[in-house]
Amino acid sequence: MARPLITARELEKRFGDKRVLRGIDLDLAEGQTLVVTGPNGSGKSTLLSLLAGLLAPTAGELEVRASRAEIGYLAHEPLVYRELTAFENLDLYGRLYRVPERRERIGMLFERFRLWDARHERVGSFSRGMAQRLALCRTLLHEPRLLLLDEPYGGLDAAGTSLLDAELAELATERTLVVATHEPERLAAATPSVKLAL
Amino acid sequence: MTAAEKYVLAAYLVVLGAVLLYVVLYSFKLARLEREVAELTALAERRNAQLREPELRQKEPVI
């Protein structure tokens, strides 16, 4: 069996005096789907930030066998510039991630997430749902091997939700997914192979 | 004592004063630490008391 993509032993994270994560053990192989559940403030986002490499563990071991170019991270915030247009944001990330045929790839993502006609509008003028869809485009832009999705359904309307359902179903087959949500029952599409309740 | 000697003495006293001030501030810190330790031992004892609670209740009905 190939070595797991993610290994964590006694993982702990502390912010000053507040301990947010403790004693997390985890093995996630390539292609599996991990669903992280728990109430708000249980440390789901912190765990995903640790997996993305944005935070360093306070104690314990964590090994993520994927380079930064192979990780897609969907955070609470869209991580895009409000003053720039949707296209300019994705173009910037496309260059930084050195995505081949950048423009075609961006155009295809805008169509798939129905943002094509808003592509030259300032992100500041976007609704919460549109910004979430743009963030999904940003996350999938460089076809990452490992996808870290923090509350992916946040702010999406009915159309957006069904669109994301289809997307997740397809992604779950060929990529490794880590989805953090406080309402796991909505994750009909991605059948979790590993569950972690915080 | 010439003016120069007074100033040199003043300089030495300034340094001595600084060290003493540091020691005084440090004693405040030690006092705080001691209070904290006392607090924590009390907390620990209360927790132990709670842990031993079940055995005590068993004994009472026997009397």
Binding site: F15, D17 | A10, V15, L33, E36
Partner: protein
């Protein structure tokens, strides 16, 4: 006896500091002859310069610990670098105090811009005071440790650059160049100076060790409180 000394480094350092300082002061005040041109007031030299050099040593030590932190990411070094900077600032302030007293003796005014060492310490004092502002306004954690470490390293690089700037500044601010007492001291003076320097260094080390223990005690108590909560 040796085990007692080994396991309480703070106490043994304090003992060494006490001995050396008493010897140093005794030598400086009673034994060493007066300086030819400056007379008795030159004795402040045995206090002002050792304190200044100790302050440099503390900033250097802080930079070394900061470098270790950035290499090993071991948070233990953050506490040590922080304590060392704290020591550096205390001795820096003392350098400014004794320096201005020396200025009062030599030039009759509490502050002179022509004394390069003094001006350099003023800049360093401002710089490292901002170090504490940086620490107090960021959340404790690896991020703060990294930033403090980078800042401490910057400080050390700033020392020679600022000293050079001050020398350059002299030619257009006020060209009063003063030849202060150089290192060509007589044997007895140099011996006194070395004892005093060893004393202040030992004092800094003792305070550093004690304060570090105090900070570690704080951290352990917080962990204990959390364990019991």
């Amino acid at each position: 006896m040796s085990t007692w000394l080994r396991n309480s480094r703070g106490a043994s350092l304090s003992l060494a500091a006490f001995g050396l300082l008493v010897a140093g002061v005794a030598l400086a005040v009673f034994w060493v002859p007066n300086d030819a041109d400056q007379g008795f007031s030159q004795r402040i030299f045995y206090l002002h310069v050792p304190v200044a050099l100790t302050s440099y040593a503390c900033f250097g030590w802080a930079a070394w610990k900061a470098l270790r932190l950035l290499q090993t990411r071991d948070q233990r070094y953050d506490l040590e670098s922080y304590t060392a900077v704290h020591m550096g600032v205390i001795f820096g302030a003392l350098t400014l105090a004794t320096g201005s007293i020396w200025a009062k003796i030599s030039w009759g005014r509490w502050w002179v811009w022509s004394e390069r060492q003094l001006v350099l310490f003023l800049i360093l004092f401002l710089f490292y005071s901002a170090y504490f502002m940086l620490r107090y306004s960021t959340e404790p954690g690896p991020r703060r440790a990294n930033m403090s470490a980078v800042y401490a390293l910057f400080g050390v690089a700033l020392i020679p650059v600022s000293f050079l700037a001050i020398r350059l500044a002299e030619s257009f601010i006020h060209p009063v160049v003063f030849n202060r007492h150089g290192p060509q001291m007589a044997g007895s003076m140099f011996l006194t100076f070395c004892v005093c320097l060893a004393g202040t260094l030992a004092l800094a080390a003792a305070l550093y060790q004690n304060e570090l223990t105090g900070k570690r005690l704080d951290a352990r108590l917080r962990a204990l409180r959390e364990a019991l909560a």
